[in-house]
């Protein structure tokens, strides 16, 4: 059956919104995605009919809520082909997941003289936690540079990895759209005895993820970018690494015993889930995983390749030299996130004009300031597409860009 984007759009109530007599054109899914009715209903039904805390109570409703919460974990594990459900830890968001790795694994393993390798295309969430820890532990951070077309420059990767204990990198750039060769990078890290930490925020919602095939050690990703609710993120880690790590946050749920002279940790995954967890959000996330699985991640990736091809071609043919698109033109190594500069119009001003026709894009540094400095720019306009976007919306973006150009070119 062919991919029916119009039918999918009907699953997302917000996409039918009309503001000032004009339809919503939502092109900011790399920032956060919209939610299907299945997710909205799952959360609403749970709260209306079945809400209860998990784990701690013996009554039937609590047992049911626990089943739903743990069921969501099992769904996520299957979605990324994890070996065990207890290798998936729920966090507040992906940022917290990366902080968890840096804090818990990093503080136990990184000391003066050690090296952590990052790349020039990382989100602040995969930079600042390491910088914070480096300030305390005195290790060195190295950076993989980029090629002119926005791919990782792997020429000196072996040199950069020499002596490294961890290589933490994004699977897909949130600015350039570049899809990195994750399995190859993981293998290189392992050759040098480093663990491989993957920021999957931009990749997991958009393509098939198989952590066993990738060979990775950790994968951080967020629910709200994959049609799930905000307030919950995920860290997947190899069981033996998670077992060996000290806990992250202390409190209820993460202990097996507390005495006056100390505590012992709970087993995985509770060890890393201190306090009351985002139960309602987990229920929504479980529904989101079901939804994406039903659509099919291969189908979503193909749809995004098609719309990216159309967008790159249309933007180039309509605006020629007036538009500078960052990143690769090769849709086999890029996702549906397109950052660009348009004429000399500042991205804020572009997005303000676009907003007149409800074309929602991100304008700014995208929480990747080191990369922006490399691009020689303070800000870009970023249009990002997902399973529900259409070629017609690409045209709406282009029409709005024309209007912005007319307005600011006097």
């Amino acid at each position: 059956m062919s991919y029916d984007v119009q039918k999918l759009r009907n699953d997302f109530p917000v996409l039918a919104e009309v503001i000032n007599d004009k339809p919503l054109v939502y092109l900011d899914s790399a920032n956060s995605s919209q939610k299907p009715l299945a997710v909205i209903d799952a959360m609403s039904d749970f709260m209306s009919h079945a809400y209860s805390p998990t784990n701690r109570s013996a009554y039937q409703m609590a047992a049911h809520a626990t089943d739903l919460y743990e069921g969501a974990r099992a769904k996520v594990a299957t979605f990324i082909n994890a070996r065990h459900a207890h290798e998936v830890v729920f966090t507040k968001n992906a940022t917290e997941a990366l902080n968890l790795v840096a804090r818990a694994w990093g503080s136990a393993n990184l000391n003066k003289g050690d090296v952590v390798l990052l790349t020039h295309m990382e989100h602040h969430a995969n930079i600042v936690p390491w910088q914070m820890l480096a300030a305390e532990h005195g290790f060195t951070i190295r950076w993989v540079p980029l090629t002119n077309d926005g791919l990782l420059d792997l020429t000196d990767l072996d040199t950069l990895l020499t002596g490294a204990k961890a290589f933490s990198f994004t699977a897909m750039s949130n600015v350039l759209g570049t899809i990195n060769p994750v399995a190859e990078l993981v293998a290189a890290a392992h050759r040098h005895g480093a663990i491989a930490i993957v920021d999957g925020c931009q990749s997991v919602p958009h393509m098939v993820t198989d952590v066993q095939a990738l060979g990775a050690d950790f994968l951080a990703f967020s629910s709200h970018k994959m049609v799930g609710p905000t307030g919950i993120g995920m860290l997947w880690g190899r069981e033996e690494l998670l077992d060996a790590m000290p806990p992250f946050l202390g409190g209820g749920n993460m202990i097996s015993d507390v005495r006056l002279d100390g505590f012992t940790c709970a087993e995985l995954p509770a060890k890393f889930e201190a306090g009351t967890q985002p139960i309602i959000e987990a229920v929504g996330l479980g529904a989101a995983v079901d939804y994406l699985t039903a659509v099919g991640m291969e189908n979503i990736r193909q749809h995004e390749i098609d719309i990216t091809t159309y967008a790159l071609n249309t933007l180039t043919s309509r605006f020629g030299d007036d538009i500078v698109i960052h990143g690769s033109r090769d849709v086999s190594v890029r996702g549906a996130t397109i950052s660009f500069a348009y004429k000399d119009v500042h991205p804020h001003d572009v997005s303000q004009v676009l907003d007149q026709t409800n074309v929602c894009v991100r304008a700014g540094h995208h929480c990747a300031k080191p990369l922006m400095r490399l691009l020689g720019s303070n800000a870009t306009v970023r249009a990002s597409f997902y399973l529900y976007n259409t070629n017609h919306e690409v045209d709406a973006l282009c029409d709005a860009l024309s209007a912005a150009g007319d307005f600011f070119t006097l």
């Binding site: 804020h348 303000q352 304008a363 303070n378 307005f407």
Partner: protein, 146 residues
């Protein structure tokens, strides 16, 4: 919904395309730096203060039309003015942007070109663009007073 013409008045676009007092000043002139962490806009304000008067001002940096034109208009409005008057204007401008609490400052003097920025209030996300240069100027005045 307010239209684009409420925000981008002609005089704003004029200051954006031909910014006044663009550049930098050498020490002993004072330099202050302002960042808008949400959008990456950066601005540098240089002032030289002589006898409690802002004798010269230069502005550099990158930003959107609102932040750049606001800085340009600000520089034109305060150059050669006594510090007390400049501080009063900062307060008045921030009142106009509805981000300063407290007593309404004296509004008898004409605002000139700055009046054009009044429309920004209808676009709350852009208020921080308009006040970036003003906050940076206030910081420069504080440094100069040290």
């Amino acid at each position: 919904m307010p239209g684009l013409e409420d925000l981008y008045r002609e005089i704003i676009l004029d200051h954006y395309k031909s910014p006044r007092n663009r550049g930098s000043l050498e020490p002993p002139a004072v330099r202050a730096e302002g960042h808008n962490p949400l959008c990456g806009d950066e601005i540098e304000v240089f002032i030289s203060v002589e006898n409690d008067i802002v004798a010269d001002i230069k502005i550099s940096g990158q930003g959107c039309s609102i932040s750049q034109s606001s800085g340009s208009m600000m520089s034109a409005a305060i150059k050669g003015k006594p510090i007390a008057e400049v501080r009063a204007l900062i307060s008045r401008f921030k009142h106009m942007m509805s981000i300063e609490e407290g007593e309404q400052p004296d509004t008898s003097a004409p605002l000139g070109d700055l009046e054009a920025l009044q429309g920004v209030v209808k676009f709350p996300v852009r208020i921080k663009c308009a006040v970036l240069s003003w906050n940076t100027l206030a910081e420069a005045l504080d440094i100069a007073a040290e």
